[in-house]
């Protein structure tokens, strides 16, 4: 194990000791067995701050192996500072290969996005989750929300969505849009834009969610039904842009708005930098 460690201190492969990894894997097995259910786990302090991906980092650390190829993205981009830092952390404590290519990765840790390139069977996607409890903004107490899940009592959320419609004419939630997993547990998809929600449904890849600070993890196993909450007369819809990506010309990707001068001129470009690159190369 220690041969793979690249630091002066004798950190174990992937930082965590083997007993902690085993604890995490057991919790993950439970999570896979009960899709969407939040499994409490003994979250550890990691060398990155809480709220900066410690849940995702712990999950990745517990499942990463010597042969894995790791991709880390934040806001869809491989080059954002925190993604760089997390990727460096794993390169340092595991020595595994890293990539920015979605297709080449066996393990993808992400904050706030699902890549545009469709995931395939055998890939594992790890989401960093700030607030695993989809009901938290509606009910502050954990004791109460656990009861609501136990009774599958999700009226609070339906009322909230209905009130949105009554007030605005449509559901005014644009990211972290609540989903029903396997027709049982109301879950947070993490703060991905609702644009990405359809990618959760029947995904061929294993989707794991880690919330380090809140000490919860959950999973959406491959080929699981995931429905974004909606009403018959107000079906779920995703964001659309009038523009195409200014760099690659894609009409199908999630676009970030970039302000380009003091006068407020702006351009729209893919948030998924790897996808944008592929599209540009494909056209060249």
């Amino acid at each position: 194990m220690t041969e793979a460690c690249h630091s002066q201190w004798q950190y174990n492969f992937a930082f965590l000791d083997e007993n902690t990894k085993r604890m995490l894997r057991r919790a993950l097995l439970k999570a896979v067995a009960i899709p969407g259910y939040q499994v409490p786990f003994g979250s550890r302090e990691m060398p990155l701050p809480y709220g900066w991906g410690t849940g995702g980092i712990q999950l990745t650390a517990s499942i990463i192996g010597q042969d894995d190829v790791l991709k880390v993205i934040d806001q869809g981009a491989d080059d954002t500072t925190n993604a760089v830092n997390i990727r460096r952390f794993f390169a340092r404590v595991t020595g595994v290969a890293t990539t920015s290519s979605t297709a080449a990765a066996s393990l993808i840790q992400s904050r706030h996005r699902i890549p545009e390139t469709p995931l395939r069977s055998g890939q594992i996607m790890v989401f960093q989750v700030p607030e695993p409890e989809a009901l938290r903004t509606l009910e502050a107490s954990e004791v109460e929300t656990r009861k609501l899940h136990a009774h599958q009592e999700y009226g609070l959320m339906h009322v909230k969505l209905y009130e949105d419609i009554a007030r605005f004419g449509h559901i005014a939630t644009s990211y972290d849009y609540p989903v029903m997993v396997n027709q049982r547990y109301l879950s947070s998809p993490s703060p991905i834009p609702k644009f990405d929600n359809p990618k959760l449904h029947m995904s061929p890849a294993l989707l794991l969610f880690g919330a380090g600070r809140e000490k919860r993890l959950y999973a959406i196993p491959p080929h699981t039904r995931v429905e974004s909450l909606a009403f018959d007369d107000h079906p779920f819809s995703v964001q659309r842009w009038e523009q195409a990506c200014a760099l690659c010309g894609s009409h199908d990707s999630y676009l970030d708005e970039i302000i380009t001068d003091d006068a407020g001129a702006r351009m729209f470009v893919c948030s998924d930098t790897d996808y944008c690159q592929q599209q540009q190369e494909g056209k060249a």
């Binding site: 644009s174 919860r216 708005e257 380009t260 351009m267």
Partner: protein, 365 residues
């Protein structure tokens, strides 16, 4: 044009260099040694050990040095290191009654068996800046008392306990093994042992504010400082293969036993109740605040109304950890382009609707 998110790797490496240079400061001045930090900033070291949940002065001093004196950052460094340490054993319960006391005061009795022992405290100084510390200064010689502190020093609260005036301090039926918050998630309702664990590593500022709130009408518990003691306590373990206790060293602790009024309930006559605080090192402010918050969190158990923030377990315990709080508050620095873009689109839609003469709301009702 599209450069905002490129170049992350290089920029990060440069920020590390800047941080190291800023930490060192002017290289014409002597560098701080860990020994100097341990010896001369002992209370900062103690606080890092308390909230870092790791009793190691050398590592705490290193963390303080690396964090350039930022206590919460030093706590974070120590906690992250602690994650990698294996568990060899659990200690036997510490016997604070057998403490080698260096300070012990009581606010409830003018004199107590063993006497009031002031020890090394700033309590009776005038807080005038001592300009002589601005340069090297000689320390006046310490005159020790003719008679040493009696060992063991009896606990003040025993006097009240003997008369039955204060609740007995009993372990739960069967004396169950306490939960370990560093290995298991905090779950609710949390029993008292679990709550005390959380409070022991809680941010001192958080505890101080909550404790203060209980004195200003939010969960008044009429406290008296029954006893505060500070000194050294032996730590022993009983390895299974040996079958007898071995002493593995001693640690400095501050313990506070708070005495609180209790009006009585249907089942219990009026009597004094307890709030308990314990912390690594010399840390009276922390131990006293912890004792007040411990007592306020017992409201439900004692059949008191629990309306104040300091009485609500989830509120107090979920927000007490400064490593968690610091990380999450500061995570707002991270990019949120994607979510913000989603909100931007939404707010534009909502504004367009609000500005149009015929809002589409109600159309669907």
């Amino acid at each position: 044009m599209y450069v905002a998110v490129k170049g992350g790797e290089t920029a990060i490496a440069r920020s590390w260099d800047l941080l190291a240079a800023a930490r060192r400061g002017d290289s014409a001045l002597a560098e701080l040694s860990l020994g100097q930090i341990r010896q001369q900033l002992r209370l900062a070291v103690a606080r890092v050990m308390q909230e870092g949940s790791l009793y190691d002065e050398e590592l705490a001093a290193l963390a303080l040095k690396q964090a350039a004196g930022d206590t919460v950052e030093a706590v974070f460094l120590l906690r992250a290191f602690r994650t990698t340490l294996p568990r060899f054993a659990s200690s036997k319960p510490l016997d604070t009654a057998a403490m080698r006391v260096r300070r012990r005061v009581s606010g409830t009795f003018k004199d107590v068996p063993g006497g009031q022992i002031l020890g090394p405290t700033a309590d009776y100084t005038q807080r005038l800046l001592d300009f002589s510390l601005g340069h090297s200064s000689e320390v006046p010689p310490c005159t020790l008392a003719d008679s040493g502190v009696p060992q063991p020093l009896p606990s003040v609260l025993e006097v009240l306990a003997a008369e039955g005036l204060i609740e007995a301090e009993q372990p739960l039926p069967g004396d169950p093994e306490p939960a370990d918050l560093t290995r298991q998630p905090l779950m609710f309702p949390a029993d008292r042992a679990t709550r005390l664990q959380n409070l022991a590593r809680a941010d001192e500022g958080w505890l101080l504010g909550l404790a203060y709130s209980t004195q200003r009408g939010y969960a008044e518990s009429h406290p008296f400082a029954g006893e505060i003691r500070m000194g050294e306590v032996s730590v022993s373990v009983c390895p299974e293969e040996l079958g007898f206790d071995i002493d593995i060293g001693e640690i400095t602790l501050t313990e506070c036993q708070m005495i609180n009024q209790f009006a009585g309930s249907k089942t219990a006559p009026p009597q004094f109740t307890r709030g308990y605080g314990l912390s690594f090192g010399e840390a009276e402010r922390k131990a006293m605040a912890m004792a007040l918050v411990d007592r306020s969190l017992r409201a439900e158990e004692l059949g008191e109304a629990a309306h104040a923030p300091a009485q609500q377990q989830e509120f107090v315990l979920y927000h007490s950890d400064n490593v968690e709080a610091s990380g999450f508050v500061q995570h707002l620095k991270l990019p949120h382009y994607v979510d913000f873009q989603a909100e931007l689109s939404l707010i534009r839609t909502l504004r367009a609707q609000a500005n149009s003469s015929a809002p589409q709301e109600a159309a669907h009702d």
